[in-house]
């Protein structure tokens, strides 16, 4: 009871703080001298956001960049952390896996999502068919990781299987397999989980985009004698190019940052670690914040061009409109 009371009190306090700050700003802006009123108004209302951005984004980013050049005891050590990252076998495996993830997940999710969207377009029960594929999006990565860990579960051949896949294998007379232990294919089994989640996202966006392709264009191309593949290749694809870029880049960014799935399913063991997981492990478990920060920096540099590209494509589209 006291617990709920305490939480309630916290909510009230948070609201009061918010009201207090806004009230103060409005009061001060209102009292400002007439001559510079516009500037002060702008500055006053931008300040909270700017301060929060500084404290919450710019400062940590600068701090992390600095940390990346220090060792475990906080002394500057030049580029040692980066040397470690690109020479140690365990770190190299991490980079390799991240590349495999970022190539396969966006590609497979988009291809499956697009194919599904095209095939169920205007089909009977389209909404239900869509919902089925979209549903995994509603599950958190950790939840999905736990579900798939159970799917891949292993018991010895002489014992009753608890994992669905191994139960199937045994039913077909095969030996059960340790899906998560055998490198390098175990990375693929983890990637399947991510694709399972992201396909729904790709499908929903692309399906909407396909419906936005003008029917006259498709009609005209058909009258010109284009077969279904040519219609799809030369009319539909150019028509949904913008959405394709958004889907691909969004999934790529999500994939670069993937952490939960790897951590819940293998904890980065058996050569399945990725950059984000290794970053956490080094910084918070191994007591090597410098290495963690260096990995974070690399991750940031990898994500940056994709974000820039995404923003540029969006702006170009706006200009066309």
């Amino acid at each position: 009871m006291e617990f709920i009371g305490g939480k309630f009190l916290q909510v009230v306090i948070a609201l009061a703080v918010f009201a207090a700050i806004i009230g103060l700003i409005m009061l001060l802006v209102d009292r400002a001298p007439k001559s510079a009123k516009d500037k002060i108004t702008v500055a006053g209302f931008l300040a909270p956001a700017a301060i929060l951005l500084l404290v919450g984004l710019v400062y940590p980013a600068a701090q992390t960049s600095f940390l990346a050049f220090t060792d475990a005891s906080g002394k500057l050590n030049g580029v040692d952390n980066f040397v470690w990252m690109f020479t140690q076998p365990e770190a190299l495996v991490t980079l390799r896996n991240t590349i495999i993830w970022t190539v396969l997940v966006p590609l497979l999710s988009t291809v499956f999502g697009l194919a599904y969207a095209v095939f169920i377009d205007k089909a009977k029960g389209e909404r239900i068919l869509k919902a089925l594929v979209f549903m995994p999006m509603a599950i958190s990565f950790v939840g999905a990781g736990i579900i798939w860990k159970l799917v891949y579960d292993y018991r010895g051949p002489e014992i009753e299987q608890t994992g669905v896949l191994n139960a199937l294998r045994v039913a077909f007379g095969m030996e059960p397999k340790q899906f998560l232990l055998d490198a390098p294919e175990n990375t693929i089994f983890l990637i399947i989980v991510m694709v399972w989640i992201q396909t729904g996202f790709a499908m929903v966006i692309l399906s909407a985009a396909i419906k936005g392709v003008p029917a006259e264009l498709v009609e005209a191309s058909r009258l010109d004698g284009a077969n279904p593949w040519q219609q799809f290749r030369n009319v539909t694809i150019p028509g949904i190019r913008g959405s394709l870029v958004v889907v691909l880049t969004t999934i790529t960014i999500a994939t670069l940052k993937v952490f939960d799935i790897v951590r819940t399913m293998t904890a980065g063991n058996y050569e399945t670690s990725v950059v984000a997981n290794e970053m956490y492990t080094q910084a918070f478990r191994a007591g090597e914040p410098g290495r963690g920060a260096a990995l974070a920096l690399i991750l940031f540099l990898l994500v940056l061009p994709i974000v820039v590209y995404n923003a540029r494509v969006l702006r170009q589209q706006k200009e066309i409109r």
Binding site: L9, Q10, V17, A19, L27, D30, A72, G156, L181, G268
Partner: protein, 446 residues
């Protein structure tokens, strides 16, 4: 702006509410109804109106039991103990010490962190009274773990015991198996069970989320201590010999005679590698189901058995200590425990530190159940379970060599990262030497 006259009051109220909220605090111990005999507390002096702040990792029921125990100290000395338990202790204690906001007393879960704090000059050396109490109540092994660079800082409090081998007494009786007295006997028994064919001799599970592999480090530590002796164990833990020293590799191979043999493991789950995908909480279950004969785990395994399981020599499940390799050298056990250090040298803080090292504290706390202590003044009759009693007797035995869990003493980069990962790779098929080399290369240089 018509309503601007309301703005000032709103702002003021908000600020007031904010400042008031900073005053709310956590609830403290509820049960001061200790009917203690205050004559035992005379030596701690009177500290009326003084407060001792205590910070540790211990929370929930365990924390309540601690507070109940020292209520008598509060009543008799007049001091108030302000306790705060947090799962973030390990990261927070360093931050708080740096910020000048350290507690009076900190209860460290492992010696490594304590040693860091002592070397940083944050901890106060223990006063003579604490040192005397530890000399009287604890073995020299324990005092050593509270000593950093020749200065004694922290007194031990409670303990846990690792290296138990759990088995079902009824199965052993039915099959005519004897509890082994030496490592070789244990290996012989394992082979006998494997040949018997009704069950596999061992079951194990190292899966523990991101900490996967730690139960395996306990195995290796037990074998290093028993096969190579306490001196080599200390050198290994302190990195005076490299992790890939031939003696350590030999101990790994010795462990592998059980863990890496498909005939020996993994009862109820599958082959050797199924150890990696079996959760450590579930790994002992096949002992009860008659699918495996033995399971190696610390005393806290008692809490992992299903409800209603009788843990006793004549019950459903019982444990024997992993036997020594050379029986003539006596029993050597690994385990863990808390260390009580002081950030302030006020009389009340020192009195409290001495009290936590005393036999009175150990007896009263153990009576409440769930824990044991290596305090020699502790009466085993106060133990609440058969297993606690066995643990206390093992800890108090003059012949017992006690060593702290090695992975807790190694630097975090090894003890809670590469050692775990190394064990995982080892079970997954990487040769012992290669695993030891890789762990050695991860040892922080400085």
């Amino acid at each position: 702006m018509k309503n601007r006259k309301y703005l000032l009051p709103v702002a003021v109220t908000g600020i007031l509410a904010l400042s008031l909220s900073a005053c709310s605090s956590e609830e403290s111990a509820t049960d001061p109804a200790a009917t203690a005999d205050c004559s035992k507390f005379e030596s701690y002096g009177k500290h009326d109106g003084k407060t001792v702040s205590v910070y540790s990792t211990i929370t929930d029921t365990e924390a309540t039991n601690l507070e109940k125990t020292w209520a008598a100290f509060e009543k008799c000395t007049g001091a108030t103990v302000k306790y705060e338990g947090s799962k973030e202790f390990e990261t927070q204690i360093g931050v708080r010490a740096k910020a000048g906001n350290a507690p009076d007393i900190a209860i460290f879960p492992q010696p490594g962190l304590m040693a860091d704090q002592a070397r940083a000059g944050n901890l106060k050396p223990a006063p003579q009274a604490v040192s005397d109490a530890v000399d009287k109540n604890w073995s020299a092994d324990w005092k050593k773990y509270g000593t950093v660079d020749g200065v004694f800082y922290t007194a031990p409090m409670l303990a846990n015991v690792k290296g138990y081998v759990w088995y079902a007494p009824k199965t052993f009786e039915d099959k005519g198996w004897e509890v082994p007295k030496t490592w070789d006997e244990m290996l012989e028994l394992s082979k006998k069970i494997a040949d018997d064919g009704s069950m596999k001799p061992w079951c194990a599970g190292f899966e523990s989320g991101e900490a996967t592999g730690w139960p395996g480090t306990d195995w290796v530590e037990d074998v290093v201590l028993r096969s190579q002796g306490p001196e080599v164990y200390d050198q290994w833990v302190n990195h005076e010999i490299p992790f890939n020293d031939p003696r350590i590799v030999e101990a790994l191979d010795k462990t592998g005679e059980i863990l890496l043999d498909d005939k020996m493991v993994n009862g109820g789950f599958g082959d050797v590698r199924s150890i990696l995908t079996t959760g450590f909480q579930q790994a002992g279950q096949p002992v009860l189901d008659g699918q495996c004969a033995m399971h190696h785990q610390a005393n806290f395994q008692a809490a992992n058995w299903p409800e209603g399981t009788v843990v006793a020599e004549d019950g459903d499940v019982w444990a024997f200590m992993t036997p020594p390799v050379d029986a003539s050298k006596g029993l050597a056990i690994t385990g863990g425990g808390e260390m009580v250090g002081a950030y302030k040298d006020t009389p009340e803080a020192q009195a409290f530190q001495a009290y936590l090292a005393s036999a009175e504290f150990a007896n009263e706390r153990v009576k409440l159940g769930g824990v044991v202590s290596a305090n020699k003044g502790l009466d085993p009759a106060n133990a609440q379970t058969e297993l606690d009693k066995l643990s206390i007797e093992l800890l108090q035995d003059e012949e017992t060599t006690f060593r702290f869990d090695g992975s807790d003493l190694m630097p975090g980069a090894v003890g809670s990262n590469s050692f775990w990962k190394g064990v995982v790779a080892w079970i997954n098929g990487t040769p012992s030497k290669e695993v030891a080399d890789s762990i050695e290369s991860s040892w922080p240089k400085s």
